[in-house]
């Protein structure tokens, strides 16, 4: 069930706006049919959330084709034109580098970068935000980017590092497959961070876009000898605080001229 401004929301007209099997349609349908109440302060906030989820999935697809390498923190590497590799294997935006260009470079020149699955998820979220905010707002909001698993210094994005139990996974969520009996020699296979995609697929860096059984099989191949427990998908998800992120976007729109609620993926324009 969806509530907007404290009232039940009729999702049918909005569902008709989005193509079947689009991320927005799927997320809206799932929320609408859920026993859980999904609350939004405004229709615009709901559209923003759908747009972010759509762009998250698009960024995951793009990353899967980018050539971004898998590397543990000890072996991590990056394009030093934009990023400084820190001594713990993280990437720090270089002084003077333009944040939007630095994020885009990871998708354009993926082979120049190697990192593990958590950092890859953070990169996806930044890319989705860049698409939804636009370069100008993105660069003003995220002047100092540090990429290193869930060690997130950006206050606006704290929630993507803290998974919580959820009644259902939504497309665009960050989820996690746990591998409780991982081999100690390959401890980085102790789990896999994933983005929930359409059609019951998941994207995990180093594994690609796969079904849950395929990801579980990959993890299970890296278990300790004599293991008896299988890897499994946890019932938790980490979601950006879309409300807070929308607040930044909304404030920027108000300051920069007439209120036109246009998000990048849709031609639908609504006025306040």
């Amino acid at each position: 069930m969806i509530q907007v401004a404290g009232r039940p929301f009729d999702a049918a007209p909005m569902l008709a706006e989005y193509p079947l099997n689009s991320v927005q349609h799927e997320v809206l349908r799932t929320m609408d049919q859920s026993a859980t109440v999904y609350r939004f302060d405004s229709v615009e906030e709901l559209r923003f959330t759908l747009s972010m989820r759509h762009k998250t999935v698009e960024a995951a697809k793009l990353q899967s084709r980018s050539g971004l390498r898998f590397a543990t923190f000890h072996d991590a590497f990056c394009n030093e034109e934009y990023w400084e590799r820190t001594s713990n294997g993280g990437f720090q935006l270089k002084p003077g580098a333009v944040p939007s260009e630095a994020i885009l470079d990871i998708f354009k020149n993926g082979r120049k970068y190697g990192t593990e699955c958590a950092t890859a998820m953070v990169i996806i979220i930044y890319k989705a935000l860049l698409e939804v905010y636009g370069a100008d707002l993105f660069n003003r909001t995220f002047k100092n980017i540090y990429l290193m698993d869930w060690s997130i210094r950006q206050p606006l994005l704290q929630e993507i590092g803290t998974p919580r139990k959820v009644p259902e996974l939504l497309v665009g969520d960050r989820a996690y497959f746990m591998n409780p009996q991982v081999s100690p020699e390959t401890s980085w296979w102790r789990g896999e961070n994933v983005i929930v995609m359409l059609d019951n697929l998941f994207y995990g860096h180093g594994i690609g876009i796969r079904t849950a059984p395929e990801i579980i099989a990959s993890l299970n191949r890296n278990r300790i000898e004599g293991a008896t427990e299988s890897a499994y998908l946890m019932d938790t998800a980490a979601r950006p605080n879309y409300k807070k992120l929308f607040g930044v976007w909304e404030k920027n729109q108000q300051q920069s001229g007439p209120l036109v609620w246009q998000f990048p993926e849709t031609s639908t324009v609504s006025h306040r």
């Binding site: 000890h74 593990e116 746990m178 100690p184 401890s187």
Partner: protein, 253 residues
Amino acid sequence: MNQSESTIHLENIRVEQGDEVCIDEFRKAAKRSRAEAVKLLNDNSMTFPCLFLLMPSIEEFRLQQQMYTKYAIAVEVSKQILNENYNPRKDYLKNGGEKAHETLIWMLTTGYQENKPAEKFQKIIDIVVSVLIHIYHETGILPQVAELIFTRRIRGENVHELIWAYFRSRETKSLQFIAEKLPSSDLAEADFIYDLLGISHDTKLAPAEEYEKYIVWLQENENKLVFNEENKQYTSRPVVCRMDQIEGKENAT
């Protein structure tokens, strides 16, 4: 060499004169005679950092077969960790028996205090710790691993794999060794410790007082703690153990 052969210890040269001199001395010896080089290697004061430094030369002069078993295993293990396509003669990381166990402990105990370790060296140490804890259930190394976590953190280096392996020992002693750092910690380090222990601290208490409180709580509840799988790959705030829902008391803080 100025010194007589019998008094030369490569580890001393490495520590006192640096890596380059150590490698140079060893290579000169190897060029003179393989036996002389093997004698320098098969020295009871040899350490893993020194052996690691000499690995390319050991390879070049094909000396591995003549080395003490412990040192030869250490070289084999290192090659296996650093090269995923390497096909080891024997997989000492899976189950190498007592000799492998002894070697891995030697690698850690002579290596964990290394001052400026290379990234590859750290990678080896991390996997050695992981194998010792998971395969050999070796809990005697926990104080050294705790020490290494703090040393690396101060240097701004990667600690995630170490922390994960450390708490996978599922030993309450692992919590105690971390908590013992509290009384001497500054504020930043204390915050790191609170994060590791998964406690939100009382801001009115100094770290030393917080330590006293935590230890009392730990003693009362150590049999009721349940370790879980949370780690930094999954969440920014892993809570490594929780109280048994039925038996445990409220958390210390």
